[in-house]
């Protein structure tokens, strides 16, 4: 076991997969000589050379299109979208094309590409370097959407994503890169896509989350433990396909559910999970499903004060947990 950060876990997964399989290559803006703006690909150019570590122009449509073309022709590209905020020019390549390859060819072709997408706020990135965009892709059948929160999950899931035969959008929360540290086993292991993880067992209420704010949920759960409220915390890890079995099993036990995400509330992942709970576990509910999410504003604000207000915090989450527990 080695202790590493999320960014180190991502880098190690990439390196090991490129060593393992020669058709795996990586591409993106500044990922070669610069090693990526977050240094996710640092050292890979020296190890694997410019044919497998490719600097691209600032052109997300091209990144998406080239990755798709390579994927349908037998390569396994891992393309980095430098900041998730700028993914929109590539949406036609991802949703309009890549998501439909297997379906449209009746399974004769697949598009085994991975898009690594740094996302999320709390990094003083302002309106153009902070957004949560994962829900736009989670809506699309044909895609797999992954959003790990810990180094262990990041490495195991990235390896699964690279080996998956379908397009995977791999969301990495920027603030977790160097904030979250954890044990990662040496060598090769994978974590299955589509499987949530109960990060903390509890009996009084179920909290479903992912990404950065999952850690705030765990912190809030510790706080509430001292108050005699025992919270179960589920890390979704994968946003599509959703592991509804794990969520429902927990809600049937606790009868109270809360979803926490940094993304805004309306139309978010939380709404989908709340709907699944209502459809499948209505008779087990002892309280309305609660959501804690970012406020209804168009983007992460630049002002540090307002950014702090935007972000769910352990304190805000704990307050919501108390309210739900007392219902």
């Amino acid at each position: 076991m080695a202790e590493m950060t999320v960014i180190e876990a991502v880098r190690e997964a990439l390196r090991e997969e490129m060593e393992r399989d020669p058709v795996v290559f990586t591409m993106g803006e500044d990922i070669g000589a610069r090693g990526g703006v977050f240094l996710a690909t640092e050292g890979l150019l020296d190890q694997f050379g410019p044919e497998r570590v490719i600097d691209t122009p600032l052109a997300e449509a091209a990144i998406g299109g080239i990755a798709l073309g390579a994927a349908v022709n037998g390569m396994r590209p891992v393309a980095e979208i430098e900041f998730g905020d700028f993914i929109w020019p590539a949406v036609n390549q991802i949703i309009g094309e890549a998501a439909r390859v297997r379906y449209g060819t009746q399974g004769r072709r697949t598009a085994p590409l991975v898009l690594r997408v740094p996302y999320g706020g709390g990094v003083r990135g302002g309106l153009f370097h902070s957004q949560s965009i994962e829900v736009a892709f989670s809506h699309q059948p044909g895609l797999k959407v992954v959003a790990p929160a810990t180094p262990y999950d990041a490495k195991g899931l990235l390896k699964s994503a690279i080996r998956d035969d379908d397009p995977v959008i791999f969301f990495e929360h920027k603030r977790t890169y160097r904030l979250v540290k954890g044990d990662v086993p040496e060598g090769d292991y994978t974590i299955p896509i589509g499987k949530a993880d109960v990060k903390r067992t509890g009996t009084d209420l179920t909290v479903v989350s992912y990404g950065l704010v999952l850690h705030y949920c765990l912190e809030a759960a510790e706080t509430l433990m001292a108050e005699g409220i025992d919270v179960e915390v589920i890390d979704l890890r994968t946003l599509r396909p959703l592991d509804t079995d794990t969520v429902l099993e927990s809600v049937r036990k606790t009868s109270k559910a809360m979803i926490v995400h940094e993304d805004t509330k309306a139309g978010g992942i939380g709404g989908e999970i709340a709907a699944v709970i209502a459809e499948e576990a209505f008779e087990d509910l002892d309280a309305p499903v609660k959501r804690v999410a970012g406020p209804e504003v168009p983007a992460m604000p630049f002002s540090p004060l307002l950014e702090a207000e935007f972000m769910p915090s352990a304190e805000k989450i704990a307050a919501a947990m108390r309210e739900l527990a007392a219902y």
């Binding site: 240094l39 990094v123 087990d284 007392a326």
Partner: protein, 443 residues
């Protein structure tokens, strides 16, 4: 300006630690002296701890839920120099690490370029931000739920499957709502009026399963306190019968007049407190404590009264109880017990107890073996007053009479007191109680 540490105060000599509740001020907040700073929970009392000085709260070292020893520095504040020089405690805080989830790295560099982003000006600005209010999660209670008798899906289903009449279930949720736990508790005790369900229990039914309850901070403090008392103090016990017939007659005869004259109900507790305080004055060894291998005789008789509050047992204290007459005690006990039951005891209410009186008779008990309220030397329980046939010596010799009898039960620290001293105290207590007659003068 100068920085001084804020220490958790001693809140009663038997209390060694407290659980930190909610912080009412945050770092950066300006605080006035005596502003409520933080909630502190001990096994005796929940209190709001006031700011010791005027200044700015700079750091908090004890997070909500932390157990902290008395005297520990729980926060730091910045005060002006004069205040700092005047402050008794100026030692630098030995700050425990902030209580974060272990996997988060404090101050990690999370800038967009991964290596160089650092803006200390912004950090300072954030650290000094005013208290937030506007965008916090909406905490407006759901009034529709709070007012009506509305049952959630799981409550309805469990009640139907187990034949429970929800109208008879006491709700513990918000606004008295019946929760799933309430129904499960009812299921565990068994429905009294309903036949057993004819269908086999469904797989998600929780009938028969053990349930684990996380004790509240107060419950845990009581538990620790009891273990400490039982493991440190060699307990011994003594029970004496008291004839309360005269006292009962006195109370019945004078209750009305007493209320008019003194504005307080003439309770049995006032009588027993009065009697025990006098007995303690006459038997100083019982009003003492074992401290570091020595016996400390207490200079005052501060009588603790065990009261069942919603969160657990609390022991408010009547200071100098031996100096009060019946009326003074009756007037002081009523508001104190009321504060205890409503959870609004203040620090002076619980400080300095030297002996504890527990009126277990109110619960229907006739005999008890109480655990001493550490570090006191003894505790006495007054049990139910019961009419019993008793042999008395009358004008014509022995006769059987109906008398109002009560047991008083003493648990005492055998390091301090032997059976002889315990008996002397019990006889004093008994004499005081039996001295009352219907026409006794109440002062």
């Amino acid at each position: 300006m100068a920085t001084i540490g804020i220490e958790l105060p001693q809140v009663g000599e038997s209390v060694t630690e407290a659980v930190i509740g909610k912080w009412l001020k945050q770092p950066g907040d300006t605080v006035e002296k005596f502003d409520a700073l933080v909630e502190v929970v001990t096994d005796k009392v929940s209190m709001e701890f006031p700011a010791p000085h005027t200044g700015t709260l700079t750091s908090i070292f004890a997070a909500e839920g932390d157990t902290v020893p008395m005297g520990a520095v729980i926060a730091e504040m910045e005060v002006d120099k004069a205040t700092a020089e005047g402050a008794a405690s100026e030692q630098q805080a030995e700050a425990p690490a902030p209580n974060r989830v272990g996997t988060l790295i404090q101050g990690a560099n999370v800038g967009p370029t991964g290596g160089t982003f650092k803006d200390t000006a912004l950090e300072e600005q954030l650290a000094n931000r005013p208290p937030q209010a506007s965008l916090a999660p909406d905490s407006t209670p759901n009034t529709a739920q709070a007012t009506g008798r509305v049952y959630s899906p799981v409550v309805s289903r469990l009640a139907a499957a187990n034949g429970i009449d929800l109208a008879t279930v006491t709700g513990t949720g918000r606004g008295g709502r019946v929760t799933k736990q309430d129904v499960q508790a009812q299921m565990a005790t068994g429905p009294s009026t309903i036949p057993a369900p004819t269908q086999p229990l469904t797989e998600d039914s929780t009938v028969g399963e053990d349930r684990v309850i996380q004790p509240s901070p107060i419950r845990r403090m009581i538990a620790d306190h009891m273990v400490k008392s039982v493991s440190e103090i060699p307990h011994a016990w003594s029970t004496v019968e008291v004839d309360m017939t005269g006292l009962v007659a006195c109370r019945t005869a004078q209750r009305h007049l007493f209320l008019e004259r003194h504005g307080a109900d003439l309770t049995f507790l006032a009588f027993t407190a009065h009697a025990v305080a006098r007995a303690l004055r006459d038997n100083p060894l019982v009003n003492s404590s074992w401290e570091d291998g020595k016996i400390c005789l207490k200079g005052r008789v501060n009588l603790g009264l065990a009261v069942a509050a919603p969160d657990g047992l609390v022991v408010p204290v009547i200071q100098d109880a031996d100096r009060e007459g019946i009326s003074g005690l009756a007037q002081r006990i009523a508001p104190l017990v009321e504060r205890a039951r409503s959870g609004s005891l203040t620090l002076p209410d619980v400080q300095g107890g030297t002996f504890t009186l527990n009126n277990t008779g109110a619960l229907g008990s006739v005999l008890g073996g109480a655990i001493i309220n550490h570090p006191q030397a003894a505790i006495v329980t007054t049990e139910s007053i019961v009419k019993r046939p008793v042999v008395i010596f009358g004008p014509g010799g022995d006769a059987i009479a109906i008398r109002s009898m009560m047991n008083i039960c003493l648990s005492f620290d055998h390091r301090i007191i032997d059976g002889a001293e315990a008996s002397e105290f019990m006889q004093s207590f008994k004499r005081e109680l039996e001295a009352w007659t219907a026409d006794s003068e109440l002062n």
